[in-house]
């Protein structure tokens, strides 16, 4: 897996939960890449693990209602810009049942 391969331009780190990586065997919890916005980050995750984009982003398009993406501690949207070197957390919201 080409983790870290494309991190030169605008490096960031995407942090994935266990419940997410369980859906994509081989995906790590910590992914280095280059991405300037949350949308670009999701595109890159989907390029590496086809289908992962659909699990984070719906077809409106928007971040799924019960998924949270945090950039610098703030809930982000698709167009949110990611500072160089930032860690982005992709987390499932609390849900009942």
């Amino acid at each position: 897996m080409e983790i870290g391969h494309n991190s030169g331009d605008h490096p960031i780190v995407a942090r994935l939960q266990g419940v997410m990586v369980d859906l994509f065997p081989g995906a790590p919890r910590r992914v280095e890449m280059s991405a300037r916005t949350v949308a670009e980050m999701i595109d890159e995750l989907d390029r590496r693990w086809p289908g992962m984009g659909d699990r984070i982003r719906d077809t409106r398009p928007a971040i799924r209602k019960h998924m949270n993406v945090f950039v610098e501690g703030e809930r982000a949207r698709l167009e949110t810009e990611i500072p160089r070197g930032a860690e982005v957390f992709i987390i499932t919201a609390i849900s009942g049942g």
């Binding site: 419940v19 369980d22 859906l23 086809p50 289908g51 659909d54 699990r55 719906d58 077809t59 409106r60 398009p61 799924r64 019960h66 998924m67 499932t92 919201a93 849900s95 049942g97």
Partner: protein, 357 residues
């Protein structure tokens, strides 16, 4: 000796119960599909693949697929989508194989087709373009396309059931559709509007073997159609209520149907009087017999959901149903005698069978 698999979709993953053709000793495997809610779980006999239609509150819709009888799984929602800006697909509710193709019904109601075994899907837009579409209203589980019925002789003919838009029919492979609800009631509408063209809350739609006969369990009644759904006749007389969810067609005899009437939409949706029974007709719904041998006859407060009953193709036919309280009941003799073959599963959403010779 044949292997019999009962495919069980639940609120928390899919399970497989297995036996031989005697259907006496059962083993259970699962949970599969990462504990996602699986609304419908089927086998495609042409490919041997298993497919689970699901939707997860966090991750959205997907069709799960196993090509090794449940050992390993993949999932996809590629193409299982409406155009940008529209309400996204929340979950897949039904999946049906035909001639190497796979059809999926989703929430909000729409029909999709896969020609690569569930890896990618294309939208059958004709249904979405039906002029009644803006007036479709959701039922209790949402606006869901839960029943997909094919004509084995004519690939262009498809019937679907949507809660609560009713039954729709195409004879051009999905390009154009027409409502087929004449004679079915909508008691939840004003008194003078209870037989509308569409808007009925069909709960489950099945095809009788070898004919143009259809049966449906509706929110408001049980019905038979002998003309491919152009008109429907009530078959409620002799049953303890007009309410229930699943309908089970016999694999060979078009006159035999299994239903599980519940006590009523607003009375808890339990088996009546705390006593479980499957009701069977051998004459197309004219008369009914209650089958109770082996089923709980006191303090039973469960329901059975719309896709949670199935028959197998053996002789005599097996009949299976799963309860909201996670028990799977089986009969190896067309409903005469019942045993529980799994007791503490999550809420059972669907039951289907797969017999491998």
């Amino acid at each position: 000796m044949a292997k019999v698999m009962v495919l069980i979709g639940t609120k928390k993953g899919a399970f497989i119960a297995e036996s031989d053709e005697a259907r006496k000793e059962w083993s259970l495997r699962g949970p599969f599909c990462n504990m996602w809610p699986i609304h419908h779980f089927i086998a495609d006999p042409a490919t041997g693949a298993l497919h689970g239609a699901g939707g997860n509150e966090w991750f959205g819709p997907a069709i799960w697929t196993s090509r090794d009888l449940g050992e390993t799984w993949t999932h996809s929602s590629q193409g299982l989508a409406y155009e940008a800006g529209k309400e996204p697909v929340a979950a897949a509710w039904s999946v049906a194989p035909r001639n190497g193709e796979l059809y999926a019904g989703v929430q909000p109601a729409g029909l999709f087709r896969s020609t690569d075994g569930g890896e990618t899907f294309e939208h059958i837009e004709g249904l979405q373009n039906h002029p009644t579409r803006p007036e479709w209203n959701p039922g209790g589980a949402g606006l869901i396309l839960h029943s997909i019925v094919f004509d084995p002789k004519d690939p262009e003919r498809i019937w679907i059931g949507i809660s609560s838009a009713g039954v729709f029919y195409t004879e051009d492979g999905g390009k154009t559709w027409e409502p087929r609800n004449k004679g079915t009631r909508a008691d939840f509408f004003p008194e003078d509007q209870r037989y509308p063209e569409f808007g009925q809350c069909v709960h489950n739609l099945v095809r009788a073997a070898g004919s143009d006969r259809l049966y449906q369990q509706n929110h408001c009644g049980m019905y038979r159609s002998d003309d491919a759904g152009q008109s429907w006749q009530s078959i409620e007389e002799g049953l303890p209520s007009d309410f229930g969810f699943p309908a089970g067609a016999h694999p060979r005899d078009p006159e035999t149907l299994f239903l599980i009437p519940l006590n009523g939409a607003e009375k808890g949706r339990f088996v009546p009087d705390g006593k479980a029974a499957v009701w069977r007709t051998r004459d197309g719904g004219r008369t009914w017999a209650d089958l109770r041998n082996g089923l709980p006859q006191e303090n039973a407060y469960f329901g059975v959901l719309r896709q949670a009953m199935a028959t197998d193709r053996l002789e005599p036919a097996g009949v299976y149903f799963g309860t909201g309280t996670g028990t799977l009941f089986a009969s190896a003799d067309e409903g005469e005698n019942w045993v529980s073959i799994a007791d503490h599963l999550p809420t059972i959403s669907s039951v289907e069978t797969y017999v491998i010779d």
